[in-house]
Every structure is written in structure tokens, then in C-alpha cells.
């Protein structure tokens, strides 16, 4: 392997993640029943693009003869079609249809949006909670460290899924939009690894010359933490953040699978798998494809996390 090249796993992870983000962002364009190009009274127009950008009224159900070009997946994810109930994958419906005749390809593609947003939101929140706590424990030491360590130890006793479900059940955050609500709850349960790693890194750095040198220049505590310690400790923390995204995506799917995630009619991978349960005896495609999407996404986050870790610490590359 060339020295300068990224490790293979990391490169693959980054490519996959890039593709996933593009798919999530462009899902309403790729899977829509609005025509891409349509011949209107005043020349060619693109209802799909107008709909995507939120300009003007959609011209859904436009006359078929006027359509010049359709989207690659010409179905809206929530559009029901009882004539196409539980159709197996075919040229018409690439990934088949569900019990209400909704196109599975469109629904799976749209599911990426919720997963990615919730995953990123939860990871950001986990960093926002975990970094200050970890820095406090690792830098201040003493009672602060004891207090944070006890808290972390306590949180470690709780299965994350149970904690997230219990918080959701109490319902104090019910007024928030679903995606924010789930992201918030998963962030509140996901900060523990971040705190643990940052604390451990800071403890390592505490005895180092780096700290002594910074002190000697007369830097204040905040400056030392922000300018000197955090940058040296950030890389391993980012690794945990990548795993936090993966964890949050799985948990979001688990919540949706249990029927406690983002509400109908939004398509999420967990909800699609929940719906697949109802037809487990006749529609294998409902279980297969959303699961593949979820699995690949989690794998992608893990690849990135591990790739970055290997890049930083060649010893772990065994």
C-alpha cells in the first residue's frame, strides 16, 4: 500500500457515505411522481424540480402525453396504489411494493433522510454534552473527575435502548418535531463514550510537556483546554463520534421498528422493517431491501470510524 493513500476501508467508507448523503439529499428528486421534464403551455418545465425547490404549485397527475422525462423512480413514497398491492420486484417497481401498494424503492430511498439526520443530530448532541464533561473530568481532576466518573459509571449500567425508550415514554419532549425529538433522546443517551475517551486522553496529556509548556506561557485554563489539549485529543474523539452516528442510526431504526420512532407517513428504515413483519410470510423484499440500506449505512460509519482510528494509531491495524 502506498504511504500517502488512505486505507482501503476508510476510502470505501468515505465513498459510500458520500453516495448516501447525495441519495438522501436528492431523494425527493430521484423518487417522485412529478415529471422531471414536462411540455407545458409555455414551453418545457420541470414540476419535479419546482416541487423540490418549493416553487409554485405541483402539477401532479399531469397529462401523460405532456411528460417528456420521468424520474428514475416515478413514485411518491407515500402514494398508495391498491392495484399494485404486495408486488414482487419487477421492472415497474424495482424493489417491489408494500401492503398498501407503495413503491419500496421510493420509500427506502427516502428513509435515508431520517436516518442520516437523526444520526448526525444525535452525534452532534453527544459531542456537545460529552466533550465538556470529559474535558472537565480529565483536566480539573479531583472532585470533578470523581463526580463525572460516577455519573458515567451509572449511565453505563443502563442499556441504551431501555433508557431511550423510557425517556420517550415520559413524553416531556413530545412537543418537538419527531426527528428532533428522537435525535435529542439518542444524543442524551449517547454521550458516555465521548466523555470516557476524552477524559482518558486528557489524563494522558496532563502529565505531558504540552501542558507544562502551555502553562509556562501563562495561558488560562480555558485557553489551555481549547487551544492545546482539545486539538491533540480530538482525533480519537472523532472516532467515537463516527461510531456514535452508527449507534444512533441503529437505535433510531430500533425505535421505529418498535413503533416509537418518527410518525407516519414518513418512511424510515426501521418502520419499513416493522411493516415487513406483517407480510413476513409472503413478501421477502419488504424485509430485504430496507435492511440492506440500514446495514450498509452502519457498516459505512464503522468503516470510517475504524479507518480513522487505524490512520491515527497504526498499532491497532492488526
Amino acid at each position: 500500500m502506498r504511504e500517502s493513500a488512505l486505507p482501503r476501508g476508510l476510502a470505501a467508507g468515505l465513498w459510500l457515505m458520500g453516495g448516501l448523503v447525495v441519495a438522501a439529499v436528492t431523494a425527493p428528486l430521484l423518487a417522485t411522481d412529478l415529471p422531471w421534464i414536462e411540455r407545458g403551455p409555455d414551453g418545457l418545465g420541470s414540476p419535479a424540480l419546482r416541487g423540490y425547490l418549493g416553487l409554485g404549485p405541483d402539477r401532479a397527475g399531469g397529462v401523460a402525453e405532456r411528460v417528456v422525462l420521468r424520474a428514475p423512480i416515478p413514485y411518491h413514497p407515500a402514494r398508495q396504489d391498491f392495484d399494485a398491492h404486495l408486488e414482487a420486484p419487477s421492472g415497474r417497481h424495482w424493489l417491489g411494493t408494500d401492503g398498501l401498494g407503495r413503491d419500496l424503492a421510493a420509500r427506502t430511498l427516502h428513509g435515508a433522510r431520517v436516518s442520516l439526520v437523526v444520526g448526525l443530530l444525535a452525534a452532534l448532541l453527544a459531542l456537545a454534552v460529552g466533550l465538556p464533561l470529559g474535558a472537565l473530568a480529565g483536566y480539573a481532576g479531583g472532585w470533578w473527575d470523581a463526580a463525572v466518573s460516577r455519573l458515567v459509571e451509572t449511565m453505563l449500567c443502563f442499556p441504551t435502548l431501555l433508557l431511550a425508550l423510557a425517556i420517550l415514554a415520559t413524553g416531556w419532549q413530545a412537543w418537538l418535531p419527531d426527528v428532533l425529538r428522537i435525535g435529542l433522546v439518542l444524543g442524551l443517551t449517547g454521550w458516555i463514550p465521548v466523555t470516557r475517551y476524552l477524559r482518558a486522553e486528557f489524563l494522558k496529556l496532563r502529565g505531558s510537556d504540552l501542558l507544562a509548556a502551555a502553562r509556562a506561557t501563562g495561558a488560562g485554563h480555558l485557553r489551555i483546554v481549547l487551544r492545546h489539549l482539545l486539538p491533540s485529543a480530538l482525533a480519537p474523539v472523532l472516532v467515537t463520534a463516527a461510531f456514535a452516528v452508527a449507534g444512533a442510526i441503529v437505535l433510531e431504526a430500533a425505535l421505529s421498528f418498535l413503533g416509537l420512532g418518527v410518525a407516519e407517513p414518513t418512511a424510515t428504515w426501521g418502520r419499513l422493517l416493522r411493516e415487513a413483519r406483517d407480510h413476513v410470510d409472503r413478501a421477502w423484499w419488504l424485509a430485504l431491501f430496507p435492511g440492506i440500506a440500514l446495514f450498509l449505512t452502519v457498516l459505512t460509519c464503522n468503516l470510517i470510524g475504524e479507518g480513522v482510528r487505524d490512520l491515527l494509531d497504526p498499532r491497532s491495524r492488526r
Partner: protein, 328 residues
Amino acid sequence: MLRRLVRRCATAVLTLLLVTLLVFGLTHLVPGDPLTGESADPGVRPLTRDRLEQLRTLYRLDRPVPVQYGLWLGDLLRGDLGTSFSDGRPVLEKMTERLGVTLLLNALSLGLMVLLAVPLGTLAALRPGSRLDRWTGGLTYALYALPVFWAGLLLQIAFSVRLGWLPLFGLASEGAAGLGAAARLADRAAHLVLPVICLGYGGLAYLSRFVRANLLDNALIESGRAARARGLSELAVLVRHGFAQAAVPMLTLAGFLLPALVGGSVIVETIFAIPGLGMLFVEAVLDRDIPVLMGVTLLGSSATLAGILAADLLYAVADPRVRRGEVA
């Protein structure tokens, strides 16, 4: 040595107290109280004001929060977990009747996990970079990223729907009660195969990688090579050097696997319609049955705490270096 053990136990008691505080705070330090707010079930009628006041008094929600916590803690010490919101039965009773199945499921999964992970990890560690090592490495990596609920669905489709080898869900076939003891046992076993696999594979992947890494760090390779050179069979190498060296560090990990198992039980029991604690928990979440939620959460977290503590203590006893106080 003794002082360390006592100190460790004291910290565990403190953590347990914090666990109760967190469980209580989680459900009581939120705007409103457990009785306000919409039910997740649209069929449930809102309570009348009188009834609400009555219930508030019954569940002590009219007292200040710290007093509520003190009273709740006192009840806990007497083994009283309160009564369920949904049917008024004691939470402890509801939990004990569900506990058996979940314990069985978890014990089987944990056993399977350890029995498979140690040989797998050891074999991989004995010949790092070999084909076996690469294959198990790739496989465990994939298993680790495999969401349980998807794996469960795929297994159901493959083994129950397509092949028809195993039952789709539940714990017993229809009419199983009329069968003989042996047939009933076989029926129960068939129902448990898929749930146990689902609950165990994640931990198996994690554990086997852990065993491998740990053995590579230690001098197993050298001692194993030496043992093989002395003419010991592959099995003897595995048992004497693999198991023996992997056992101690694995103990510490077993404690940390418990939360994943408890969380996994919730999902696995839902997929396979197994009436255990996990299913009780999901029902409680949907009904907003706070006392049951608190009870199950408390049980799950104290079990984890006990697991971690037991692992720590065993580790201290099993590792001669720790025993002599050479390493922390």
C-alpha cells in the same frame, strides 16, 4: 486485597444509589407528571379532574419530589415496586412472571456466545493473517454491524417461511400442552433457536474479536507455538492456552455485554412474540405505565451493575498480578 474488595463494593453501592436516583429522576423530574400528557393510544379517554386528583394522591404525586424519592426508595428496600398504572397489579408480580423466559433466553445466548467465541478467537489468534483469521474477521465485522431486528426477519423468512424448519414466533406450538414431556421440550427448544441466535450473535462477534486481540497481546502465540512444537494436539493447545488465558479478561467484558443483552431482549422478544420482560417493557412504554418502566429499567441496570461488580471481583481473584496488588 481485602481493602480493595471492600472499596469496590462500596463504590458499587454508591452507583446503585445513583442508578435509583436516575431512574426516579428520569420519570419524575420532567415537566408535568406521569399522569399528564397524551396517551400513545388514541382509544384511551382522558381522566376526569377528580379521578386525576385521586390517582395523584394514590401515587404520591402530590408530595414534593424529594419526599417522593425517599418514599419510593423506602418501598424499594421493602421489595415493593409499586403498582402498575394499566391494571393495578403489583409491578414486582408482573415482572416475576415474565422474568423466567427472559433469563432462559439470555443464559442460553450468553452460554452460546462464550462457547463459540473462545475457540473462534483462539483459532484466529493462533494463526494471524491466515485464511481462517481473515474469514472470521470479515464475518464478525459484518455481524457486528447487523441490526438485530433485520437479522431476525431474515432468519424468520429463511428458516420458518421458506424452509419451514423452525416455528415463526411464540414459545410453544398450538396444542403443545397435550404432548409428552420430551416432545414439549423439543417444541420449546425449536421455538428458542432463532431468538437465541438473534440475541447472541452480536456479542459473539464482539467477544471473539476481543479474545483474539487479547491473545495476540499476550504471549499466547509463543506459548501455543511452543506447545505445538512439544507435540500437543491442536485441541490441547486450544483448551490449555486459549481458554485459560482468555478466561480472565473475558470476565470483565461479560459484565459490559449485559446491557446489550437486556436491550437486545426488548427487540428479540418483540420480533418473536415472546412474553418476557422485554415485551413487558415495550407494553409499558406504549401504555406510559411509569411504575413498570421504572421497575424493568431498575432491574436491567442493577443486573448490569451486579455483572460488572462480579466481573471485577472475579478478575481481582483470578489474576495473580491483581491479587498481589501489582496492577490495579
